[in-house]
């Protein structure tokens, strides 16, 4: 990205007109011509003069003409300039802030909170909302519990990080009684509770080695059980960490109205992978990050912008959330919404510790 357009390269007037054009286009959706702009801006300039300016802006790659007689439209680069240097973000109306706050009332149910956050984002913006769940990089084991299901089948319940409950079923070679399982889980809780999951796994493998020498029956069972419990493909299913909502809102957007493009877009959502990559980029940038059109690097998102913000608790970034919509979106509204939502989610999560 060398060709950054510095707003100082342009005259005051050009910038003013450019801003007016973008705003008009965002409102209308139709390419803006010189005549319209002449009336729209309260500079008293004739269409002809404005044409000259527009031609310059087009040369700089900020505008684009769909065809000879169609007025002009901002390019991705144009939106970038607009968002970075010209946009004046609206303060949210207090009733909107309250609406957000209401939806995000802290809730003991963690996953429901996240889900509601996503829906709220899509509802309030009338675009698609997305929340990336906290990456469970460091998972502290809180508690482990075994429940006998039937012959040779045992349910393992792992409580991780105070909020997440994982459960899996393992097949054992013998049938355990409830009290045996109780003993085993007591034993494992004693040594492993509070430790990191990866550390636990490593330790278990160690113990398995040592075990060959020892003969302590009950401990042997315990370690075997633990091995099976934790051996499982470590992380949970890869696709489980992205919550979309309001995708259908995008079906109203004219720019995306082509069924074929929509299909590709929806499939991208379903696969989650690409969006996940994108959001991972956003997690590192501190503060809000906006991907405009082709900037994202994904073809399907060519006519889309993604407005993201990381959310954090105690200064630690847990994840990212955001909104996906057409490049022609009301940034001045969407940006503060995403911003405040991220902050409020941080607060809501904080209250839970």
């Amino acid at each position: 990205m060398v060709s950054t357009t510095d707003s100082s390269q342009l005259s005051e007037r050009s910038l003013y007109l450019f801003k007016a054009l973008v705003e008009h286009f965002i409102e209308d959706g139709t390419p803006v011509g010189s005549r319209t702009l002449s009336k729209d801006s309260n500079l008293n300039l004739s269409p002809a003069s404005i044409r000259n300016v527009m031609a310059d802006l087009e040369d700089l790659g900020l505008l684009h003409s769909p065809h000879t007689s169609a007025g002009r439209v901002p390019t991705a680069k144009g939106y970038r300039l607009f968002v970075d240097s010209l946009l004046r973000v609206n303060d949210l109306k207090s009733d909107e802030v309250q609406k957000i706050a209401r939806e995000m009332a802290p809730d003991n149910d963690y996953s429901s909170l996240m889900q509601r956050t996503s829906s709220m984002l899509s509802n309030i913006t009338q675009l698609a909302g997305v929340v990336m769940l906290p990456r469970t990089t460091q998972s502290k084991l809180r508690h482990i519990e075994f429940v006998s299901l039937s012959t040779n089948r045992v349910l393992v319940v792992l409580i991780v990080n105070d909020r997440e409950v994982q459960n899996r079923i393992i097949n054992t070679d013998k049938t355990y009684t409830t009290s045996e399982l109780q003993q085993i889980s007591n034993y494992l809780n004693d040594i492993y509770a509070g430790k990191d999951l990866t550390a636990v796994r490593a330790s278990i493998l160690d113990e398995l080695e040592k075990m060959k020498e020892e003969v302590n029956q009950s401990m042997q069972s315990a370690i075997e059980m633990a091995q099976m419990a934790f051996n499982n493909d470590g992380t949970q299913n890869e696709g489980d960490d992205l919550l979309f909502s309001g995708q259908t809102n995008l079906m109203d957007v004219e720019e995306l109205c082509d069924v074929d493009k929509l299909k590709k877009l929806f499939e991208t959502f379903n696969q989650k992978r690409d969006i996940l990559h994108l959001l991972e980029q956003a997690i590192n940038a501190d503060g809000m990050q906006i991907f405009i059109g082709e900037e994202s690097g994904y073809d399907v998102l060519d006519n889309c912008s993604v407005v993201t913000s990381p959310y954090e608790v105690d200064g630690e970034i847990l994840g990212v959330l955001g909104v996906i919509g057409p490049t022609r979106m009301h940034y001045e509204r969407v940006i503060p919404i995403v911003d405040i939502t991220a902050k409020m989610l941080g607060v809501a999560l904080n209250l839970k510790n």
Copy 2:
């Protein structure tokens, strides 16, 4: 539904031609004219004769002309006759059966099995798949466990019906130690394990009444905890019992290619409610159930058919699964697929007990 069209009302030849027409239309998607049908069927009839037959069929409400010069198309009633009396279901190729079987290998992870079933349905049919999870009408409590999270906050883990794990967080008025919680859960497990959830709730309310007189401290705590644990809005979130997949496949279907209709359809999927009602109807009918077009009673499904089959374990119906696609679908393929999938799901679930 009084106006059932008995296939015996129609001449052999009419039926034959009707069948040919429907098959042709399902293949092609374009209205079928007399000329086409004359060549297509190997009866040696002139287009004119066929026109007469077609006019009769139209009078009976089995066919419909989009316009004067457009050939004819089956109505919902027509499809109904076709599916009920004329359709010869294909046996699935053995490699397809194997493919299904492979996807539905029994798996300790219950929810993953259900999810894979849904995806598999949509993959193999190239339509939308849906699985309704077992209704938890009678939920036997298997095990209850408390884990202290932080001051005044306790995580409750309920294991229900051997496979389902529910967890919720409750706020307590005092902070419990691990061993206190242990005691409480031991106590509750002793009296409630194996009982029905609704019975448990009732019993707890009873105990709360009695409690006023008694003074047993630890038992009092236990009951209070239990009350909070079970008091929660009984069932899990209402929308959590329907698994869709492959919705985007429907975007390829010509009949639904209108963005507006698609949007409504997708919103119906997201709300789940209507589809849930439909599937609930299907759960009662024994065996497969097919809703064709307007029959479903939901406007959004006007151009859609829903092919469903209940799945059962030990003769008990647990839920329903099926496929949603355009009325113009390859019933002869979809029907056996849904059928066999339901059976295999039953088997896979059975192996888990």
